[in-house]
Symmetry: C2
Subunit: 118 residues, 2 copies
DNA sequence: ATTAGTAGTATACAAAAGGTTAGTGATAAC
DNA sequence: GTTATCACTAACCTTTTGTATACTACTAAT
């Protein structure tokens, strides 16, 4: 009944799922830009929005919610008038550094390759 | 005039662009699954389609075209009846291994974290 | 009194990604 | 003679993602 001993079926599926999970978190048009904006020091909603060219309030709002859910960002509300909301990156966000490094170096290498081939 | 010596503005933008390029190539719902199918040994169009649960011919066709453009896959046509088309992963696809490793280990770690916190 | 700033939400719309169905034309199996 | 296989493609539909604009309710400055 086709019982191969190659590491294909299960290990590979797990691997794919993990990769999918990772891409789910950092994929999309804005996730990484928001993280970078926060790393650069922006803290408040409008401040973040101004620092990211082209993002709308609706999208920024939903991105921040997801980042909070995934533990990259903490939302701190300072009541008073006007209400000030502060977004803080967590230490957990640093665990992404390995991923980001390999992505950026591969991306740069790949772009160079395409340029040379053109 | 706010002249910080942090690596923010330019290096950061380049980095983001590179990451964007990388995600463009391996992002999306199917790219990696197609690559994995080819690594597992599938070679022909319908064979690949059968090995990836849920992918349609239309989508597979466009994914393969993009993978070919990016140098991950070579398309070899064996004329005759019936026509057989063979897709072969290139050595270049191996350059992705670092990216895939860091993505999968981070993804697995992240899922565990979410599970523990629930 | 108008304007700007605080942090968003509501609504409507556009664009992109992906899915479904059917079909090509030749051949070979049933 | 109907059905299946080969490798797709065209047409159309749905879902997801992103954009634009207006609005909330309060305050402080002009």
């Amino acid at each position: 009944m086709n019982r191969t001993i190659s590491p294909t079926s299960e290990a590979c599926t797990n691997r794919l799922t993990s990769i999918g999970d990772a891409l789910y978190v950092i994929g999309g048009k804005w996730k990484l830009r928001v993280i970078v904006a926060l790393l650069e020091g922006s803290k408040r909603f409008n401040e973040i929005q101004r620092s990211i060219d082209g993002i709308s309030a609706r999208v920024l709002s939903s991105e921040l919610k997801e980042l909070e859910l995934n533990g990259f960002v903490t939302r701190i509300v300072h009541t008073g008038t006007p209400i000030v909301v502060e977004y803080q990156i967590t230490e957990y966000a640093d665990t992404l550094s390995g991923v980001l490094n390999s992505l950026s170096s591969w991306g740069a290498m790949h772009r160079d390759k395409l340029r040379r081939e053109r």
